[in-house]
Amino acid sequence: MSDPEDTGDAGTERPRESLFAAPVMAEQERMVEAMLFASATPMTARALNDRMPHGCDAAEALVHLQKRYEGRGVRVVRVGDGWAIRTAPDLGFLMREETVETRKLSRAAIETLAIIAYHQPVTRAEIEEIRGVSVSRGTVDQLIEMEWIRFGRRKMTPGRPVTFVVTETFLDHFGLESARDLPGLKELRAAGLLESRPAPGLGAPTGPDEDAAEEPDSGQSELFED
């Protein structure tokens, strides 16, 4: 039952006097370990003892076991009157499995975002005017939550409406130095993006950087004229 190695330590503590000597402590520790592991509820020392052969001392075995698990991935902990094996608190993060599902932004969101990027700083009313439909609160909230847009300065117009601007995170995500690097209408058209359907062979559009380099003043200034 017991390993010869185990008998070394524990054997000195409890010499085997009789035929019915209790198992050596190392063996008792194994038993407690197995029971705590398999039990669906915390177990008291008494309950452990009841299952073990006569002469065993579950309380002592628990002390050894607890020490053995110190600093391990799981610990032997007291739960009320009983004992249980639990994950070490610092490893709780492993018990959470975070799955990230990537979804495309909705059409409404991407359009709103595009308008903010091209027209910033822009008020909600202006976005609605350009899109021709009202902008839902959820769409704006989503973009703010994604940290792609934020509130800009209020407009100095009646009502002092808030404006929206794009963020650093936005520029980062789209690989832009500034919102000015966004291609203007001319480039969009040159890239075939102004056709209602982009040509099937259309690869990546000409990078905004190149475009911007050729026509430094294109883009927003042109677009802002209305």
């Binding site: 398999a38 018990m95 599902e101 979804r103 059409r107 991407i110 291609p183 969009l188 102004l194």
Partner: protein, 267 residues
């Protein structure tokens, strides 16, 4: 049960074995098919299955079937099929091989049957060993209190620069060709043109290019000019229909000219 020794399953000195043979008949339902029955019968030979006498086994089986018939026990069809096959096998084993005859020899057939029996026996033995292993939930245990692995689902939205530009392009394109939205500022209606021309036609005694009737400010922008031209032309036709004006075009693509009808003068 205690039938006298008129059994044909003779040559069994032991009473126990005789009883076993009896039991076979009574308990025919307990067999899992003819192969199982054959395997049980083969045990009476007390030899390794590899050295079993298939001929003897065939006889035992045929005796069994015979008995069942005597006792009016209805045997399932597959038992009878096996019986017919064994009878055939028996004849092949007993008769000297006919060189003319095609097909497997009696020995080959017997060997295969022995193989089948041995295989079935082997499967039974390993099945028993398998079931006798330390088993989860009986000898070996899993964690009694598994901790819940929490599943957190996070949705991350994404878009590419292409998406962004296409979206913007879509919006701008909508502005440029708005076929269904009447853009009142940039459309000159026929009613507007007619009203304007009604006021002016009375003074047009000379042939005049209808382009000169275009309202002020509508000549520059091509969209507006087109709209105004179309409206003015339509209004001119309307005036002609009313009999208040005459219209002409000297040749294809030449300017369209209009003047008031002379009939009006007498009125």
């Amino acid at each position: 049960m205690t039938k006298p020794d008129q059994d044909r399953v003779v040559a069994h000195p032991s009473v126990a074995e005789r009883l076993e043979a009896e039991a076979l008949i009574v308990d025919v339902d307990g067999f899992e098919g003819p192969l199982d029955l054959l395997l049980t019968l083969s045990r009476t030979q007390k030899v390794d299955l590899r050295r079993i006498s298939v001929l003897h086994l065939a006889r035992q089986y045929l005796d069994f079937v015979e008995k069942a018939r005597d006792l009016r026990i209805e045997l399932a069809a597959d038992y009878l099929v096996m019986a017919a096959w064994l009878a055939f096998l028996k004849s092949r084993l007993l008769l000297p091989p006919d060189p003319e005859e095609e097909g497997p020899s009696g020995e080959e057939m017997a060997a295969h049957l022995a193989f089948q029996l041995e295989r079935l026996q082997a499967m039974r033995e390993v099945a028993a060993r398998l079931m006798g292993r330390d088993r989860l939930g009986r000898d070996i245990f899993a964690r009694g209190l598994p901790e819940r692995m929490e599943r957190v689902k996070r949705v991350s939205y994404t878009a590419t620069l292409l998406d962004l530009m296409q979206a913007y392009a879509r919006i701008r394109t909508r502005d440029e060709f708005r076929p269904f939205v009447m853009d009142r500022d940039r459309v000159y209606t026929m009613e507007q043109a007619l009203e304007r021309m009604r006021g002016m036609i009375g003074f047009a005694g000379m042939w005049t290019d209808i382009a000169s009737y275009l309202p002020e400010g509508w000549g520059g922008d091509p969209v507006m000019r087109r709209s105004a031209t179309a409206a003015t032309f339509a209004a001119s036709l309307e005036l002609v229909k009313e009999g208040r004006a005459q219209i002409r075009q000297s040749e294809t693509f030449a300017p369209i000219e209009i003047r008031r009808t002379d009939r009006e003068r007498p009125t």
